[in-house]
Amino acid sequence: MHLTLEFGGGLELLCESVKFHNVNVDLPKGADKLSMRDLLAWVRTNLIKERPEMFMKGESVRPGVLVLVNDCDWELSGQLDTTLEEKDVVVFISTLHGG
């Protein structure tokens, strides 16, 4: 499944400072759909190059990270259970506190 992943608010530093990733993610063995739970595991294995604790906590993202699926907060689509579709755009962004 082709997806566009975007990292922002400093999270790109965990992926060798690359903000945009066009990726092709295989469905998990025996599954007929890809969930955000699956995608997070895939991202952690394939894209996060350092300090994974700055990205994840347990099986979800760490506190302070917003997840957006097609410009919409994943809380509105089922969070970890959100089903992804071909060409979806998923954004991971760390909330900023500076001024």
Binding site: G9, D71, D73, T95, L96, H97, G98, G99
Partner: protein, 287 residues
């Protein structure tokens, strides 16, 4: 005559004529603005443009909270301060700048650090709060205080080459804790003083904060509640995304919350976020 009916003086009619001419703004919105009061917490990178535009547009009473002094390394982004004010309180410098561009509105100086001990008393004097601070504990404290007092909060942030903006606690919309119930790890809470920031980025976000505060105060348009603006200066990309609504489970604004003024006063936000409210107060402690 509509202007007189709304109590606008001849000088005000001339000063604000470009607002009065606007069919979608006009006398009613300007009159609303002149009767409103807005508090800006922080006279730094975000507060500088927010204060200049809020003063210029004719907010009736404009409050400024800050305990810091102007330093040379602020000047690349905090354009409300001049070199002549280096070493002096930011509140004094910002208030002088606001008065110099609009002598007809009331400017209130709160030369102190915002803390649980004074936040209720200060915020309760204003209709709208603008969060222009630079650290996580302040953001939780200001949002919680706005929930307890029922004030809308215009929240902006900037770091590096990115910025974020939304409106919290507005007409049933989410509060800061609805989005961020658990504080981030302290290693994720970078400040401009540690990590740097391109000066014009808080400039853009601060102007957008002024706009959202003006829209709420004058009662025009659709404020950015339930939506968040994400700005990436390097690639010149801006997303406006849909965020969650008020959380029924929110500890501060949810259905079964018991959070009140006393609990607010007793909460230790530095402990809660494991992060200091202010680097300069920290510096003082170390001295």
């Amino acid at each position: 005559d509509a202007n007189l009916a709304h109590g606008l003086s001849a000088d005000s009619i001339y000063r604000y004529s470009r607002h009065l001419l606007l069919p979608s703004f006009g006398v009613q919105a300007q009159s609303n603005l002149l009767k409103s009061s807005i508090l800006v917490v922080g006279a730094g990178g975000l507060g500088s443009p927010a204060l200049l535009y809020l003063a210029a547009c004719g907010v009736g009473r404009l409050g400024i909270v800050d305990h810091d002094v102007v330093e040379l390394n602020n000047m690349h982004r905090q354009v409300i301060h001049t070199e002549a004010y280096i070493g002096q309180p930011k509140v004094k410098s910002a208030a002088a700048a606001c008065r110099s561009i609009n002598s007809t509105i009331q400017i209130v100086e709160h030369k102190q650090a915002l803390r649980t001990s004074n936040a209720l008393e200060i915020l309760s004097q204003y209709d709208i709060v603008v969060d222009a601070t630079d650290n996580a504990p302040s953001r939780y404290m200001i949002s919680d205080c706005c929930v307890v007092l029922g004030k809308p909060l215009v929240s902006g942030a900037a770091l590096g080459l990115e910025g974020q903006l939304t409106v919290y606690n507005y007409k049933g919309g989410p509060c800061y804790r609805c989005l961020f119930p658990t504080p981030p790890p302290t290693t994720a809470c970078q400040r401009c003083s540690d990590s740097g920031v391109l000066g014009v980025v808080p400039g853009i976000i601060g102007c957008l904060q002024a706009l959202e505060a003006i829209k709420i105060a004058s009662d025009i348009g659709e404020p950015l509640s339930g939506r968040m603006l994400l700005f990436d200066a390097l690639s010149a990309r801006i997303r406006i995304v849909k965020i969650r609504g008020r959380s029924l489970q929110c500890e501060v604004c949810g259905e079964n919350t018991t959070f009140n003024q006393q609990q607010f006063k007793d909460l230790d936000y530095e402990k809660f976020t494991q992060s200091p409210l202010s680097t300069s107060l920290q510096k003082l402690k170390l001295l």
